[in-house]
Each structure stands twice: as structure tokens, then as C-alpha cells.
Subunit: 211 residues, 2 copies
Amino acid sequence: MNTKELILEEALKQFSQKGFDGTSMSDIAGPLGISKAALYKHFESKQQIFDKIIEESEERYKDVLEKLSVHYPDSSNEKMNKKDVDIYSGISAKGLCENVLTFVRFSMSDEYSRQVRHMLTISQFQSSKLSEMYTKRYVDAMLGYDERLFEQLIKAGVIKNGNPKVLAAMFYAPVIMYMGMWDREPKRAEECEKAIKDHVEQFFLMTINRE
Amino acid sequence: MNTKELILEEALKQFSQKGFDGTSMSDIAGPLGISKAALYKHFESKQQIFDKIIEESEERYKDVLEKLSVHYPDSSNEKMNKKDVDIYSGISAKGLCENVLTFVRFSMSDEYSRQVRHMLTISQFQSSKLSEMYTKRYVDAMLGYDERLFEQLIKAGVIKNGNPKVLAAMFYAPVIMYMGMWDREPKRAEECEKAIKDHVEQFFLMTINRE
DNA sequence: AAGCAAAGTGACCGAACGGTAACTTTATTC
DNA sequence: GAATAAAGTTACCGTTCGGTCACTTTGCTT
């Protein structure tokens, strides 16, 4: 219907496979059944198409982040205890395991997420803007989220004491490592999913407070 | 001196920055002060230069792996106990911390390692061969090494019980995550180094057996 | 139905691409 | 010092690239 959106869709598909330099304007126009000249009725240049994809992904990403924050405990609440903690779905150890697996399964099966992730991965050294965006999205944001989560869990006595930032890295890094492997070798998807599950489960066995 | 090696050196530099498609034959020849036609006296095609870089890096990589194995405890030794474990440099908890930091500092400061890592990172989706090579090198091999190490440490009672593969991922994944961040944003190098150090230290605080 | 703007077309531009050909320089060997 | 093979040069090949142009088609408005 909307040609402009179809162009962005096809361009993302191509860029995520072959990168910016490996994709020509004809590569984008061809599958859409239009001539490459038509692309210039909607965008000024190839670079502008790329930038627009990045821009839109940034917006979609922020939306997702906001939705995550909604389900997040109020960090100003100092009186949180074990009982309070269980109120929030996923802030209990078991709930968190499920949340992570849901997040992973969505990230890996959603075509748009996959393509953006691939595109950013192979473009991450192209400019400092892209470098920073990659780090912000796939490291800082996730780590920050988990860090605040563990802060709460420690405060509430659910898990053992420890530096929450270090715990966050120890929890999150294996997940994204296996997701990268999953992206590169879809044949090993089951192996990766199993490894993530094992990791998350053992992480809580190791860190949870027993009484 | 040896032009062929200079070509490979310059090509790796360019490929690691701009990727295969983003690098032209003139880009490689220019900085060497020769014409692009001269490149064809040494290589048949641009692809062949790329392939040769990969091939050489594979050889160098195998050499490094062998050297690592030399310092590695014999896994057939079933009678290993806490005392034996300390014989091997780096197989004690404190030694392992130092070993990891040495490995990280070398990987991040060595220009060749850095360039190969960057090149493989931005080329990892170009072919299944490159996908598998990336996973093998930066996931499977490292995980396998750490897994065997933790197996020994558990057997010897140095660290607490647990699935050694999961422990290996929990130990290694944060390291490579921060190395990726370090690669993308060298400004944050100190922050990354600190994070890796904190992680490794806390990891052993959490897993080591106290008596 | 006329008018009109948006969206499409094919033909074309200059530049850059990977790669080749014919020729020259360089260095070594006998 | 002539012969020779390797390594370099310039000029050029055909192709593709990103992008433009003049023109046509489409679809909506009044």
C-alpha cells in the first residue's frame, strides 16, 4: 500500500543481509517491482533511507522501553520487602526466568527485531553514532534495567548480597551471547535456547536466598 | 619489504574499518604507494585477498590455542586435588583473575587481534563459513576452555558445585560483552576494564568454596 | 471532463568499481 | 653486460554505482 513504508521494509531486509555498501538502489527497488528512479520520489538518497530506518527503529525501541518500565517497581519505594516483591510479575525469581525466556523468544522470532539487530551488528563500526547506539541498546539499557531489578531483589532479601551491576552483567551477558550465536547459526537455535534456560535457572539457584 | 604481506596488512586494516564492500582495490593500493594494478601481481582478486587474511588469521589463531593448551592441566588426571590445582599458574582463583585480565589487555591492545575481531564482527553474516568461524572462535572455543577448567576446579573442590558449562558462560560472556563495548567505544576503555575486573573478582567470591 | 500533483517510467549522466593489457623498471643471475 | 623474471606503471575495458532528467501514468479534486 504505502510505497514509502514498503521501501523502508525492503531496504532494512537488504541492509541487514548485505550491509549498506553491499546493497544497491536497484536491489531495493527490484523486489518491489518499481524502478530505482522511483525511490528518489520518496527519499533523497540511499543514506537517507538508511537514516530513516535507524530513526524509526529508535522510536520503536523507545516505545518498547517505556512498556518495560511500566511493569517495573517504583525505585522510590524504600519499604519493599519479600512480599511486595512478588506482586510484580517477573520480579520473583521464577517469574524472572519466564520473563527472560519470553523476551528471548520474541527477540529471536520477530522479523523486525532480528533485522534491526543484524543491521546494527554489521554497521556498528561505521560511525561513532552507530557504535554508541549499539552499546546503548544492547548493553547499557539492558544492564541498567537488570541492575535496578537486582538492587530491588537484594534490598528485599530475595537474592544474596553482591554488586548489582556485576550481577546484572553475569545474568544478561550469557543471554545476549547465545542470542548472537542463535543469529549466526539458526541451526543451533534449540541448543542456544536450552543454554539460556539452563543459565537463567542456575543463576537463581546460585544467587537466591534460602532460609 | 615483502609487498604481499604489506598488502594483506593494509587490506586487513581497511576491511576491519569499512568492510569488504566498502573497501576498493585503490583504497588498499593507495596507502602503500603503488597502483591498484600492482595488487594483481600478487593476488588474483579482491576476494582472494580477503580469503587469505581469513586463512592466515585461522593459522595464527590455532597457534595461540595450542600455546594455551600447553598451560592447561591434563584432563586425564583424575586424582587432582586442591594442592595439585595450585601448581598450574592461573588455575587457582587468584591466578585465573590475573590470567583473564592479561588475556583481555592483550586482546584489546594488539592491533592484529583487534582488526581481525572487527573484520569478523562486521562480516559475520556474509556467509555460513564466516558465521561458524565467528562462533567457533569467540564462543565455542572460549566456552570449551573455561568449561574444562571449571570441571577441574569443581572436581578439586576449589569452587562450588554447578554445571561447568553454565559457569563457563557466566564467567566468559560478561568479559566478551565488555570487550565488544571497548571495541565500539574506546573512550570507555577504563570503564570496561574496571567492569571486567569487578566481574571476575565477584565471580570467584560467589563460586569459591570457603572452609 | 479538466486540471493537477504525486508517483511512476526509461534513458542517461559522470564517477567509481574490479579487473586486464601492453609496456617499463628493477634486480638477479649466468 | 645480456638475459630474464618479477614487480611496477599507465591507460583502458566493460559494468555497476548513486543519482538526475524529461516524460507519462495514475488518481484525486472541483
